[in-house]
Symmetry: C3
Subunit: 229 residues, 3 copies
Amino acid sequence: VSSDKDCIVFGFSHFLGDIIDCIEAGGGALKAVVLNVPETPYPGRLSLRERLHRLKYKVPVFTFDEWYPAHWTPDHLRWQNYVIGFSGSQMKPLLGRLKELCIPFEPLVHQTAILQKGAAIGAGAIVNAGAIVGPWARIGEHTILNRGCTIGHDCVVGPYGFVSPGATLCSHVTLGENVKVGANATILPDVQVGSDAVIGAGAVVLEDVPAGVMVAGVPAVVKKEARKP
Amino acid sequence: VSSDKDCIVFGFSHFLGDIIDCIEAGGGALKAVVLNVPETPYPGRLSLRERLHRLKYKVPVFTFDEWYPAHWTPDHLRWQNYVIGFSGSQMKPLLGRLKELCIPFEPLVHQTAILQKGAAIGAGAIVNAGAIVGPWARIGEHTILNRGCTIGHDCVVGPYGFVSPGATLCSHVTLGENVKVGANATILPDVQVGSDAVIGAGAVVLEDVPAGVMVAGVPAVVKKEARKP
Amino acid sequence: VSSDKDCIVFGFSHFLGDIIDCIEAGGGALKAVVLNVPETPYPGRLSLRERLHRLKYKVPVFTFDEWYPAHWTPDHLRWQNYVIGFSGSQMKPLLGRLKELCIPFEPLVHQTAILQKGAAIGAGAIVNAGAIVGPWARIGEHTILNRGCTIGHDCVVGPYGFVSPGATLCSHVTLGENVKVGANATILPDVQVGSDAVIGAGAVVLEDVPAGVMVAGVPAVVKKEARKP
């Protein structure tokens, strides 16, 4: 049996357990994982197969070419919901390929997340458990709002971003594309953060952050240029 | 149609979207905005009219004298619930006038906020989405507890205060009147904060804070006297 | 009338109001408090009797020997759910005695807490209001996760621990036995914290923490050896 909340996840992610919980808490199931590159082992963490083995049901793993047979038409792609397993620049090569296929991504919002009035979640974005998105905040495509983070009213979060657990964006904060906000970081009202910037864990950001830099500390200061994409 | 959760908001607030969401999440609607002073434009933010335009229903805006005709008796004032749109010293002149009229303010608590056993919320106070108020905590009149903040058991928060998003008050914390707690700040157990004090964003407050000062940092130290009211 | 959520609490705790709220929010009631040592008065805080007096029903207080008459068999102990009122080394002497009696402790999880898929809560652990426990996280026996804290996926929290309000553990964090995490502290992914360590309020922990030390600051550094147990 398939529910209309069943999802296919692209790419391996250490965040996979959270994605599965978002899917299942909404009454769906993970139907398949599609890997475009081989999984990179990570010391002390479970492999993809070990993670999937913890589920009560069997989840097939495909390579991209196995999953997408030459005879498929766009109609085949509309049978499912699709989720990207990782964020930022890592997903871009795969995402280009998926956009060519016109994959109809949906946002994936955990049932315990709070979306206040007028909040808009982009295609393929993930809002994890207990996250709060304030009124009229706009979250970009394929951005991840992790467990228990707080987004203020009228914030604009760009695409391919990642807001870590417990982070707090006050009102009217603007994040560019591919911005990473560390765990429990705080960004004050009206602050603008440029694309590809990284906000360190626990940082308290009082002033605008230029594109491509890494800031940290209380109050946050520039530590270095962030890695070029 | 009018529900008993319909509200009239006094004063313009950039926080208006949150107030509306608190009202609507409880099944009510915003029936009118009453301005006592002309709105101050703020660069890069929407005007009151633009904010109201985002609603699916029309909300009239009155001056105080338009809204309160000379022939009204106290009975007219009991038809509605009333909310103050801003906090602290800004609201005081208006509030004096409203108190003379014996306006029956109700607390406005978002339906996703968590009020633990014995928690008491003062008249006209606002508890925003995902805020948690611990057992037997007492929140003063017209105080705002913003999105995702956490108030410990047996805390006493004075009137006209503002607790910003993500802030954490441990147990038995006492805040005087008109105290502002910045985003994601932390106040340790048993700490007493004097009236009109300001706690900076991300500050970690280990010791009592005298009235009228501004503290910031980890651990928090006095930065300056707060603006005289 | 007794519900199967009714609980007996062992030991006095300033956290008692939260424990009662966890019990009552789940439809139960506090049936008795059993003190093994005399209560220590704490300046400016309510006594146990004053706390119990705030309830709408009467709660008897027993000494251990009053509560456990010589003629009781193990069957008598199965009538109730049991909760420990305090955490860490304070509870150990009492806990030894209770383990001899084979007291069947249950975890006590507030109904507003979020347990994600595969999360496992140990016997006698308490998860307070609004806490979020990520997928496949494992929480040890008699550990307290306080109001609004966030535990990442695949974390392992040891027994007799205490995670304070608003603290954030990222994914794959490991805490040993009897670890105290201060309010609003942040622990980054994959960090391992040794037994009996103390993480200061607001600390941002980037690196492993040895057993028995106290760390604080942003980023966290070792301040001193923690008190010997």
